[in-house]
Symmetry: C2
Subunit: 235 residues, 2 copies
């Protein structure tokens, strides 16, 4: 028995999708799957003969459309999972802090990490944490829409930082081609919060981010609130 | 002590660069570094306080310019390493099949894997193999220039396939956003050689590849023969 682990990349939105499976039972989960790459992901799941149990979103994304709904149409036993604070009609499970999801001999444990959006969650599996847009490599998510709060994000990242230094950090995005970091590296080198930055300074830095709205926000957020269902995403 | 491992991606040429280091001694190696991303890579090496020992190329690339020479200018103790079959003036070490390079408590072992080019080498470190353009995820390198030979590539991939199934395959490129595979997966699912394809059929498939020359070949190959040295790459 071992953990099958496929980090996958979508170039247009620089999004990482993560496919994890138990090599023995073939039970699998997918985190933050993207519309544009759904054929690749479906192909890989079928090729490896996986039994997709959970389609997980770290949050309602504003920069790309999820493929949760098409994946569920294909893998009918899979359940769509989002954090409990989201009001998303299509979710089968609204998961709370501390709850876990089992796939074969493995589990992902949920860590509520609000701040980028109020419904953000991170997931811990073995020596890996999937941090969505809460903690990015050397950076963090913006906090200026969808119930964002820099104060909450500070507390959430401190919570992520309670994991041991060797835990590997897999974010939802990286715009510079970096694929992985570690808790130890981010505690030390994160440009927003590393090296012991306090809450006041962190909030100042987050508020000083110069940001334009994501190109897809007006399409992506409504579409993702229905998990990428085509009918409504065209509306 | 643990292995620091950073797979890094360059979007324009879809190239993967791999930075590996011993977390205790800080001795490091970099495999297939790219001109466009040299500032990112230099920044990461400096930030982590690494002592770069070897700048390794799996082969003389035709699709992007290496940053070997600028990296060596920055990290003066580092040695540029290429496979023994290359005639590359700037290499400090022309490494042979079976030879290894030490960095801290870790080593990479060289496996001559000619076929994509005659000078191609792969490197094995712990549970990982860096296959350059010899073995790609579900595919393999083309064999129509730089001394390429589909017959040799067949033998080289069979040699790579002697590694155990769980060994993780890290190629020099992926054009579909896949980041890693395993020997077991490639033995089974590789579209060129998986599932027990014989040499004759493999050669037929390689020769049937419909390919245009890489956009950068006439710039990249001469530049890479001098390890990305600026003066000559402009010529």
């Amino acid at each position: 028995m071992s953990l099958i682990f496929h980090p996958l990349f979508e170039k247009n939105s620089s999004t990482y999708t993560y496919l994890l499976a138990d090599s023995h039972t073939k039970e699998a989960i997918i985190i933050d799957a993207v519309d544009e790459t759904q054929q690749r992901d479906i192909g890989l799941i079928e090729e490896l003969g996986l039994d997709l149990k959970y389609i997980i979103e770290t949050h309602v994304h504003a920069d790309h459309i999820t493929s949760s709904c098409p994946l569920k149409q294909k893998f009918k036993n899979a359940k769509i999972v989002l954090g409990a604070e989201n009001s998303v009609a299509c979710a089968d499970i609204l998961i709370k802090d501390g709850e876990s999801l089992q796939f074969g001999a493995y589990a992902v444990n949920t860590m509520a990490t609000p701040g980028h959006t109020n419904g953000c969650v991170s997931f811990v599996c073995e020596d890996k944490v999937f941090t969505g847009d809460s903690l990015l490599i050397r950076s963090c998510g913006r906090c200026d829409f969808q119930g964002g709060s820099a104060e909450k994000l500070f507390d959430s990242i401190q919570k992520i930082f309670t994991l041991t230094d060797k835990v590997l950090v897999y974010p939802a995005h990286d715009y510079g081609g970096r694929t992985v970091s570690s808790i130890g590296e981010e505690k030390q080198f994160n440009e927003m919060i590393g090296g012991g930055v306090d809450k006041e300074e962190f909030v100042r830095r987050v508020n000083a981010m110069v940001l334009s709205l994501p190109k897809k926000i007006h399409v992506a957020v409504p579409a993702n609130q229905v998990c990428g269902s085509k009918i409504l995403s065209d509306g």
